[in-house]
């Protein structure tokens, strides 16, 4: 075990995968000699050279389209999109091409591609360095969507993503790239997709969160514990595939649910969770499902702390849930 930050864990995961498999390569903007703007690819260019750590021209559609072509040939490209806010030029490539190649070719052309991208607010990045648009992608069949919240999961889920024969969008909570440290197992250690993590067990209420919303969710659970409430916190880890069984089972136990994400509320991923609970855990619910989310506005620069869910808002929602029904 080594104590690492989340971004260091990603860097380790990339390096180990590249050492283990010569077909794995990295491409993106500034990923080479600069090591990525967040240093996620630090040292890789020096170790593996420019043929495996490829600085591309500034074109997201080109990065993803070329990664698809490399995968069609049999390589295992890991494309970095510098900020999730910049992924939209590649949206067509991801949604129309990457996610549909296997299906439309009858399995003749699978696409072994990982797209890594830092997402989310809290770094004073304004409208275009803060977005949390995971729901657009979770809506697309053929694409897996993964969001770690701890260094161990970051490396373990990334390793699984790199071995996955299907396209994976790997979203990295950049707000906690360095704010979170943790023990990370040495060597290849895969964290399976579709298995939520019970970050804290409890009986009275469940908080569902992922990525950078995990730390405030755990703080909220701590606050509520001081009030005598036993709160379960579940880290979804993979939105697609979703561990639906864990979601339903937890609410069958606690009867109350608070869903937290920093993306806007309307049609956010929380809406899907709420719908699943309404369909499959309705008779276990003791009070209405609460959502604590970003607002239905563009992401604001100066007011980002007002926009982003925090422990206080989560506690407020939890109290409302606990006092109802």
């Amino acid at each position: 075990m080594t104590e690492l930050t989340l971004v260091q864990a990603i860097n380790r995961g990339l390096g180990e995968a590249m050492r283990a498999d010569p077909d794995v390569l990295v491409l993106g903007e500034d990923v080479g000699i600069n090591g990525g703007v967040f240093r996620a690819t630090e040292g890789l260019f020096k170790e593996f050279g420019g043929d495996r750590v490829i600085d591309t021209p500034l074109s997201e559609t080109g990065i993803v389209g070329a990664a698809i072509g490399m995968a069609l040939y049999g390589l295992k490209p890991i494309a970095e999109i510098q900020f999730l806010d910049f992924i939209y030029p590649a949206f067509d490539q991801i949604v129309s091409e990457l996610a549909k190649f296997r299906f439309r070719s009858g399995g003749q052309y699978p696409c072994h591609v990982v797209i890594r991208s830092p997402y989310g607010g809290g770094i004073k990045g304004g409208l275009y360095h803060s977005q949390s648009s995971e729901a657009y992608f979770a809506h697309t069949a053929g694409l897996k969507v993964v969001i770690p919240s701890t260094p161990a999961d970051a490396k373990g889920l990334l390793t699984t993503a790199i071995h996955d024969p299907d396209p994976v969008l790997f979203l990295e909570p950049k707000r906690i790239y360095r704010a979170v440290t943790g023990e990370v197992p040495e060597g290849e250690n895969r964290v399976p997709f579709g298995e939520a993590r019970v970050a804290r067990a409890g009986d009275d209420l469940t908080i569902f969160a992922y990525g950078a919303m995990m730390p405030p969710s755990l703080t909220a659970a701590e606050t509520l514990a001081a009030e005598g409430k036993s709160v379960e916190v579940i880290d979804l880890r993979t939105l697609v595939p979703l561990d639906e069984r864990a979601v339903v089972a937890s609410v069958e136990k606690t009867g109350r649910a608070v869903i937290v994400h920093e993306a806007p509320r309307f049609c956010g991923f929380g809406a899907e969770l709420a719908a699943i609970l309404a369909e499959k855990a309705f008779f276990s619910l003791k009070s209405p499902v609460q959502r604590v989310t970003g607002y239905d506005t563009p992401f604001p620069y100066a007011l980002e702390n007002l926009y982003l869910p925090n422990a206080e808002r989560i506690v407020h929602a939890a109290r409302a849930s606990l006092s109802a029904g």
């Binding site: 390569l25 043929d51 591309t56 021209p57 074109s59 559609t61 080109g62 993803v64 389209g65 070329a66 990664a67 698809i68 072509g69 490399m70 995968a71 069609l72 040939y73 049999g74 390589l75 490209p77 030029p89 067509d92 490539q93 129309s96 091409e97 549909k100 190649f101 296997r102 299906f103 439309r104 070719s105 009858g106 399995g107 003749q108 052309y109 699978p110 069949a141 053929g142 897996k144 996955d164 024969p165 299907d166």
Partner: protein, 348 residues
């Protein structure tokens, strides 16, 4: 309808053909013409079947056959093809089964892609014919990525990326052309300029004097080629492919052709196309131009061309019969191939 104009002849002699196409020039031309005959027969039958409601859609390639067959005969078995809507003849002439293609057109359960795509979107991995979407131009960057992967692996194969005139306005064309040149990737961009993007003429698509001229800004060679001249197509493609294979990078070939049919079975070109265009198109019909050349060279006569047509008629008829008898996709096929089948659990 105005009387059909005389076909503009292809002005080649046996000597010039040997110089351009090598000693095998005569079987090459005959082989190409037989495939063009098949494509012509196929387009006629399929448009009719669509009108009869027996297939759902069809995108004919009439007028563009010289480019497709020229490409198929210019590449090796290890080279890759990234098609657009009208390149199925490349797959067929490389050995993709006509019956399998018909299963695709009928969208039945024996279609390798289980009827998931509209007709004219086949996948044929066995001849390295890559799956395409209906989005214009997206395949360009795929071809570049694959070509660069080959360069990294020191694989001497090349990739051909097909797209139309309309695609040169799309961002993927720009992204792909730029990447290919920066990476010196072994790819040949084959722009089949049929002068129409559905109803929009090419002069509304660009102010460039030619589409080939766009290559200059990317730093690669570009050339405009008469795409209805089979000999020119093969000669120029072979040259560009040799350059790419030698490691000297990508190039852009603009094949000027005439779209002699509606854009697709869903289109009515009388709304936007002048009769003069069709007259000019018919004067440049690649099938008739090739046939006239073969006759001039003594490689074909009436009996021979009739025999080739009958051979294609019979092949298409038999494939239709087989495909029409196949069952529709099973309902559970909708759920397969969305993702890889789940692997068996790891031993504990």
């Amino acid at each position: 309808m105005t009387e059909a104009p005389a076909v503009v002849p292809l002005d080649y002699t046996a000597e010039s053909l040997e110089g351009l196409l090598g000693p095998e020039w005569s079987p090459t031309l005959v082989n190409a013409f037989r495939w063009m005959t098949l494509a012509r027969v196929l387009d006629g039958r399929m448009l009719a079947l669509q009108r009869q409601g027996r297939i759902g859609f069809y995108g004919p390639a009439t007028g563009q056959e010289a480019v497709s067959v020229g490409a198929a005969l210019s590449i090796g078995p290890d080279d890759w093809v990234f098609p657009g809507l009208r390149e199925q003849l490349v797959a067929l002439a490389r050995g993709h089964s006509l019956t399998t293609y018909l299963h695709h057109l009928f969208a039945n359960d024996l279609d390798p892609a289980r009827g998931r795509q509209m007709p004219c979107h086949p996948t044929a991995r066995e001849v390295r014919y890559v799956s395409m979407s209906s989005v214009i131009g997206t395949q360009v960057t795929h071809a570049v990525g694959l070509a660069y992967a080959m360069k990294l692996r020191r694989d001497p194969s090349v990739a051909l990326a097909f797209f139309g005139d309309g695609a040169t306005s799309a961002n993927d064309f720009h992204a792909g052309a730029n990447l290919a040149a920066v990476w010196q990737a072994p790819v040949v961009f084959c722009c089949t300029n049929n002068q129409w993007a559905i109803s929009v003429p090419v002069e509304h698509q660009t102010r460039s004097a030619t589409l080939a001229a766009k290559s200059v800004a990317y730093g690669m060679p570009g050339e405009r080629v008469d795409g209805t001249d089979l000999v020119a197509v093969v000669a120029r493609l072979r040259a560009a492919i040799a350059v790419a294979r030698s490691g000297a990078g990508p190039s852009l070939l603009e094949f000027v052709v005439y779209r002699m049919t509606p854009h697709s079975s869903s289109d009515d070109p009388t709304r936007y196309q002048s009769p003069e265009f069709l007259l000019e198109a018919r004067a440049h019909d690649p099938y008739l131009r090739t046939e006239a050349l073969l006759r001039t060279l003594g490689l074909a006569d009436d009996a021979q061309t009739t025999a080739w047509r009958e051979e294609s008629d019979a092949a298409v008829r038999a494939a239709i019969e087989t495909a029409e008898a196949a069952p529709p996709p099973s309902p559970d096929s909708m759920r397969s191939d969305v993702l890889a089948p789940a692997p068996p659990p790891a031993p504990s």
